[in-house]
């Protein structure tokens, strides 16, 4: 090294560390490798400000970043090497894309001179992730790092949130340059629609529609939570008296015990909610994207309703459902404007509604709810004390009442639907799940991320035996990090349950590829150095949950449940949400070959 070396020189790797710190990042989830080694070499110099969580699989690192983001509202950061390290991030990046989660994924890349030569562990990760990233960058010059990182975080966090990938060549990480931190964001092709001026005409038109509606509904989705608009939603609902339904990702946006709260719509929503949608005359959708799990057959969705769609992404408006009025903007801002407009009119005596119309509507929906009382199916007690899978969720719900709040991370499948249906959702960011992608294996690493984001809260995981087996190695990460606030409830039915259910209901009970064996999960937990508990009858559930909650460490509970319980109600694929199967007794399952018994050790 030259004696005249500029003390301001930094390697690209150091600049990258500093850039992350400047963005307010204090934890990253990753796994090193050759092409990202320079970055890892620099990391310890910043250990007091930037903590690295070593995961057991890059997919785990990616989902951990997602869990962190969904729990905290902040951008989740994951790091991997080139080649297979990068491709292992594809699933979590796709998951973040579908659920609009703010994520920055950093991958090492081979040296610039080797690009395109099929070098060792070279992959065109940018090419691969183009359809599933909001944007991506290939950094070949260390001087670009300050600008690229600033842009990446800006894009990940603003507007419609989503994943951004930064691919950094090894030579860029190694180069020594003087960083220029004077970054001015220049993104002429990007508009952050949250900052849009409120369209006063649209607000007035929406207020007109809502004020004159005889059977209005508010549908609240992911956007309400991401915008931090729960209070504004409550204010509008209470001012207008309009009942509220919440999508899977909207659970927690509106307190479930509120008189105006109806529940979840869609494929596994409640009958009364779906019927209300089919009867309503005005539907105000805030921050949900009319996903097909919610709408069922889109052409039959809300046939009598004028639909008002509020979304931060203009390309969502009118994409799947015909919309009477579209409002592009931030959920919180729009909700405030709607409330202000309605308040102003009420003060002037306009739109006075004392004719009892809304009361009658609410009464009508509540009558439907009585008729198809949710959880009714789950009250049927089969013979014996075989543990029912939904009882696990009911018991967890009861425990939460006395224990205070916790966050719940769910995986994908039947257990996910039972948790969504049967747990009481009161506050935003308490329900963390994979929605649009439905990625099995999401829960364990996502819980890791949530636990790190919220060290003072208990994180309950509800996961199936299938999903658990995909990513359970992250228990080792939890142990290495010394985490104690994660409690894992495995709903173990020895099947890929949701697929089995469809095979039973719609495919003549042909259980192809669904019987699933697995290890003794309590013994596996013990092998990881955490507490494992096995529960195989109903009487033990409550005490197991209490024991787990009291235990000062990670706990895995293997709930061995009734194997062929089904999630009801269900809207069969391609049907209208008005046609729900309420239980199996109304639809005799076709006979088919008996299922293989997978057995449990």
């Amino acid at each position: 090294m030259s004696a005249h070396q500029d003390p301001a020189l930094r390697t690209g790797a150091q600049i990258l560390c500093e850039a992350l710190i400047r963005q307010g990042v204090d934890v990253i989830f990753g796994l090193p490798g050759g092409a990202i080694m320079p970055f890892y070499h620099a990391l310890p110099e910043y250990a007091d400000r930037l903590h690295h969580v070593l995961c057991r699989h890059e997919q785990g690192a990616g989902h951990a970043a997602e869990g962190y983001a969904r729990a905290s509202g902040r951008v989740g950061v994951c790091v991997a090497t080139s080649g297979p390290g990068a491709t292992n991030l594809v699933t979590p990046i796709a998951d973040a894309w579908m659920d609009s989660s703010p994520m920055v994924a950093i991958t090492g890349q081979v040296s610039s001179a080797l690009l395109g030569t099929d070098a060792f562990q070279e992959t065109d990760i940018i090419g691969i992730t183009v359809p599933i990233t909001k944007h991506s960058y290939l950094v070949r010059d260390a001087r670009d790092i300050p600008r690229v990182v600033a842009e990446a975080f800006h894009l990940a966090f603003t507007g419609r949130q989503g994943p951004v990938l930064i691919d950094v060549t090894k030579d860029a990480q190694q180069a020594s340059v003087v960083p220029d931190w004077n970054v001015v964001l220049d993104l002429p092709g990007y508009e952050d629609h949250r900052l849009r001026d409120v369209d006063a005409t649209a607000i007035r038109a929406a207020t007109d529609l809502l004020a004159h509606a005889k059977r209005p509904l508010i549908l609240a989705g992911n956007g309400v939570i991401q915008s931090g608009a729960a209070a504004e939603l409550l204010a509008l609902a209470e001012l207008t008296g309009i009942p509220v339904i919440t999508t899977l990702h909207g659970l927690g946006a509106f307190p479930q015990d509120h008189p105006l709260s109806l529940g979840m719509p869609g494929m596994h929503g409640w009958v009364h909610v779906n019927r209300a949608i089919q009867r309503c005359d005005v539907l105000l959708n805030i921050g949900s994207r009319f996903d097909d799990r919610v709408t069922g057959k889109a052409s039959t969705f809300a046939p009598h309703a004028s639909v008002i769609h509020v979304d931060v992404d203009p390309s969502e408006i009118g994409k799947l459902v015909k919309v009477t009025l579209g409002i592009v903007g931030d959920a919180r801002t729009v909700l405030r404007s709607l409330t202000a407009e309605r308040s102003a009119r009420q003060r002037c005596g306009e739109d006075a509604r004392d004719d009892g119309t809304l009361e009658r509507w609410l009464h009508e929906v509540h009558e439907l709810r009585e008729q198809f009382e949710p959880r009714q199916e789950y009250r049927r007690r089969p013979e014996g004390d075989t543990l029912q899978p939904h009882d696990v969720c009911a018991a967890l719900n009861a425990a939460r009442v006395s224990r205070g709040n916790c966050r719940v991370v769910t995986d994908v499948g039947q257990h996910q639907m039972w948790a969504a249906q049967l747990l009481d959702w009161q506050r935003p960011r308490t329900h963390i799940t994979s929605g649009g992608s439905g990625t099995m294996g999401f829960a364990m690493p996502a819980a890791l991320g949530a636990a790190i984001a919220l060290p003072d809260e208990t994180i309950w995981v509800v996961v199936g035996d299938g999903g658990f087996q995909m990513t359970n190695q992250e228990i080792a990460t939890m142990a290495q990090e010394g985490l104690t606030n994660i409690k894992i409830a495995i709903v173990n039915n020895g099947y890929l349950g949701m697929v089995r259910q469809w095979q039973q209901l719609f495919e003549g009970r042909r259980y192809s590829g669904t019987p699933l064996s697995g290890p003794n999960f309590a013994k596996l937990a013990d092998a990881y150095g955490v507490l494992g508990i096995t529960v195989d009858h109903a009487g033990q559930v409550a005490s197991a949950i209490e024991q787990a909650w009291d235990h000062p460490g990670v706990v895995v509970i293997d709930f061995r449940v009734e194997r062929e319980a089904n999630v009801f109600p269900i809207v069969p694929q391609g049907r209208s949400i008005g046609e729900m199967m309420v239980d199996a007794l109304t639809h005799a399952p076709a006979t088919g070959a008996p299922s293989e018994y997978a057995g449990r050790p």
């Binding site: 090419g127 183009v130 359809p131 002429p188 092709g189 203009p314 390309s315």
Partner: protein, 113 residues
């Protein structure tokens, strides 16, 4: 029974993009995703340095969605649908056809013995 397929129609789009590696790839990728065919594509630089212009003709069922999703790409500055100018594109097609008669040498790598 075959599912009813709505008819594809030809649409001409003019897209202004940042003149950067990857910008074009991302824009075309969007169209590939919907399995729409690109009948013709011209990309070139504009007077504004750093900006390029792409004119493409696609056969699409729902062009509105394509326009919306192109617009939200970070490197896309503007998207407009224009009336299909037969004459302009015919001239372009004629110009392209001239390449058919140009002698094109295929360079074989010399084997080092």
């Amino acid at each position: 029974m075959t599912t009813f397929q709505p008819p594809s129609r030809r649409h001409t789009l003019v897209v202004r993009l940042n003149d950067r590696p990857g910008a074009l790839y991302r824009a075309i990728g969007l169209i590939r995703r919907r399995d729409y065919n690109v009948s013709s594509l011209v990309v070139g630089s504009t007077d504004q340095s750093g900006t390029s212009r792409m004119v493409l003709v696609i056969e699409a069922v729902d062009v509105h969605q394509v326009v919306q999703q192109l617009s939200r790409l970070i490197d896309v500055l503007s998207v407009a649908e224009v009336a299909h100018e037969d004459t302009l594109l015919d001239h372009f097609a004629d110009a392209m056809r001239r390449f058919d008669t140009l002698p094109i040498a295929t360079q074989l790598p010399e084997l080092v013995q």
